[in-house]
């Protein structure tokens, strides 16, 4: 990403009733960037968004928009747009008047308002719905009105607070690609709050992983996924299973990983963890291959364990594999070998490039 910094947070912190919600958040959002704030509920991502919007005042630190501190600027003068989780449309206004709201507040003339509202409704493919009231629209349509209402004012930054979480899975995917297209078309800077890692990875230029403190890691989706800098990021992204080589003898499979170095014909890449030390190797379940043959194919690191369960789930099968210490991991494979059935011994492995060093 190149271009000017549109929005920055400098050491922003917030404490509610003695509990630290966010701590010393530093963030620079570039012009035209799509950035996600990702984390579990309670990680402070919504508070961060509310601080940017001006609904919440940070206890410490400052918010800069276009290089200017806006801590003392009320929300209605920040020139931001926002799409809300529950749509938050004005129920007493028509679709047209909902979208026109921000323009009317800016005292534009009626002809300009009509033209820009039509353009915005066109952008979200809702032309012809002008006279409908929100309750006469479906959930997806309501959210598109919300998007048009926020975009029509050409905000400095568009804030999106889990806008798709109330939609069903199919509609959510459709809206994701639509959102991506709108971002490309308008070039609006967007900050997207979500707890859905797939959504964050799919949509964003960069992802900020949060966990009730400073930002854990701010990186491209690839970087977050492949090179987690903290244990939290490693665990939170790419769940449900992360095959982890332990650091010591207490975990039998960790020894095998090390043994695998000899047998598998390759070593885990020598990344360094946050502390600067090479940590234990790990691999995401999505990158794991299983092989019921006698040997793992080179050049892979592999482990040999036993399948305890196999469940068909449509596009993938869930293969549950037991490790020595009665821990199990679940591997999702789109096309598992036919003999990968409960009781079968398997090698677990993955291309050397997919192994990572865990912090």
């Amino acid at each position: 990403m190149s271009g000017a910094t549109t929005l920055s947070l400098r050491k922003a912190s917030k404490v509610y009733a003695g509990a630290t919600i966010i701590q010393s958040i530093d963030l620079d959002v570039q012009e035209g960037e799509f950035i996600s704030l990702l984390g579990p509920s309670g990680c402070g991502k919504t508070t961060t968004l509310n601080i940017i919007a001006g609904f919440v005042r940070p206890d410490e630190g400052e918010v800069l928009i276009g290089g200017q501190c806006v801590n003392d600027v009320p929300p209605y003068q920040r020139n931001l747009g926002m799409v809300f989780q529950g749509h938050a449309l004005f129920p007493h206004l028509t679709c047209f008047d909902n979208v026109a709201f921000g323009l009317r507040m800016r005292n534009l003339d009626e002809a300009t308002i009509r033209a820009r509202v039509a353009q915005a409704l066109d952008l979200v493919r809702l032309n012809g719905f002008d006279e409908r009231f929100p309750r006469q629209l479906s959930g997806g349509q309501q959210q598109r009105v919300g998007l048009a209402r926020a975009l029509v004012i050409e905000p400095r930054v568009l804030l999106l607070d889990e806008p798709l979480s109330n939609l069903d899975a199919k509609l959510r995917r459709a809206m994701q690609s639509e959102l991506r297209a709108i971002h490309t078309k308008t070039g609006t800077t967007m900050i997207y709050v979500t707890h859905d890692q797939e959504e964050a990875l799919t949509l964003s230029d960069r992802v900020a992983v949060m966990n009730a403190g400073p930002i854990e890691q701010l990186d491209t989706p690839e970087g977050i996924y492949r090179h987690p800098r903290t244990r939290f990021v490693a665990d939170f992204i790419g769940s449900p299973a992360l095959l982890r080589g332990g650091g010591g003898e207490e975990r039998a499979h960790s020894i095998l990983v090390r043994n695998g170095e000899a047998g598998g014909g390759g070593a885990p890449p020598a990344h360094q963890n946050a502390a600067g030390c090479p940590g234990p190797p790990g691999i995401r379940s999505g990158s794991i291959r299983i092989d019921t043959g006698a040997t793992a194919s080179s050049p892979e690191l592999s482990l040999q364990w036993r399948i305890v369960d196999r469940a068909f789930a449509g596009s993938v099968s869930h293969i549950t594999i037991e490790l020595t210490d009665r821990q199990t991991i679940v591997v999702h494979l789109s096309n598992p070998p036919d003999d990968a059935i409960p009781g079968a011994a398997v090698h677990l492995g993955g291309a050397v490039a997919n192994w990572m060093v865990l912090p």
């Binding site: 919007a53 001006g54 609904f55 009320p74 929300p75 209605y76 920040r78 020139n79 931001l80 747009g81 926002m82 809300f84 989780q85 529950g86 938050a88 449309l89 004005f90 129920p91 007493h92 028509t94 709201f101 921000g102 507040m105 800016r106 009231f133 929100p134 309750r135 006469q136 919300g146 209402r149 926020a150 004012i153 804030l159």
Partner: protein, 286 residues
């Protein structure tokens, strides 16, 4: 559904209303069309003369207009004075403060109207609290006449029925999703415009239902005009009482009751219809 029809569920209430409310109403209605012998109290014949008298004689017409005027003023004042209070209560987050507010609101509703009215005599009387305060501040040389006046009746009615307005507005305000207010604010509305464009219109159903209650109660109020107005400010309920108890003209009392009831229903439904039309799309229906 447990298989019981909704009709059977409303049956007890329906029966009760039919016996305790419907039947007396039918009796009153039928009596308004009868002649009554003032000596024997016997009812006979069919006549429209009571209605003709009520709708032409200024003695009755004045009472009707006075009643409607008082009810209208009380409704408007309750709304204007009650709205800020409702707004404050709806924004209060402390549970303890809310409980206190609810108690304060319920006091006028719980205490008998007679007690309330006599208490207000002490406040509004020539040597009452208000007049003494005004005199000691040298704002008035003579005590103001609150008792036996419409102003006094209106003041006490606002006190007695205002809580219904506040509670209804408060309920409507609490139903507003805070995210909607945030959306308005972020998209450029300053606090004043958030209120005018979003909060006020969205609380309108509360104003409407509160207004209907306050208006009907005020138009039908008897105790307050009787005690505060000293039977000198002639409102329709007082005329009904006087006709029934003083002159024993029951058909006239019945006619006045019916006219007041019809006017009250007509006015409230007309206002409700007119204003609801604008909000029909989001208030109800599909």
């Amino acid at each position: 559904m447990n298989g019981r029809s909704p009709l059977t569920l409303v049956l007890p209430a329906t029966l009760w209303l039919a016996v305790a409310w419907g039947w007396p109403l039918v009796l009153v209605l039928s009596m308004s069309f009868r002649n009554m012998d003032p000596m024997t109290f016997e009812l006979s014949g069919f006549t429209l003369k009571h209605f003709r008298e009520v709708l032409t004689d200024s003695f009755y017409l004045d009472a009707i207009f006075r009643s409607l005027r008082i009810a209208t003023i009380v409704t408007i004042l309750s709304c204007v004075l009650g709205y800020p209070a409702a707004l404050h209560i709806a924004r209060t987050t402390s549970q303890r403060a809310r409980a206190a507010y609810t108690l304060i609101l319920l006091i006028p509703v719980m205490i008998s109207l007679v007690v309330t009215a006599f208490a207000w005599i002490l406040i509004l009387g020539p040597s009452g609290f208000i007049n003494r305060a005004l005199a000691s501040l040298h704002l008035t040389s003579e005590p103001l006449q609150f008792l036996n006046s419409e102003a006094g009746i209106i003041a006490v009615l606002v006190y007695s029925f205002g809580p219904y307005m506040i509670i209804n507005i408060c309920t409507a305000l609490e139903k507003i999703d805070p995210a909607i207010l945030r959306a308005a604010e972020l998209h450029g509305a300053n606090p004043r415009r958030v209120f005018a464009r979003v909060t006020l219109p969205l609380s309108f159903p509360g104003i409407l239902s509160g207004g209907l209650i306050v208006f009907s109660l005020s138009a039908a109020a008897f105790v307050t005009p009787y005690v505060i107005g000293g039977n000198r400010v002639k409102v329709v309920p007082l005329q009904i009482y006087n006709a029934a108890v003083t002159t024993f003209d029951w058909p006239m009392a019945a006619t006045l009751s019916i006219v007041l009831l019809i006017l009250s229903i007509l006015l409230t439904t007309a206002v409700a219809r007119l204003t609801e039309r604008r909000f029909a799309a989001w208030l109800g229906g599909s």
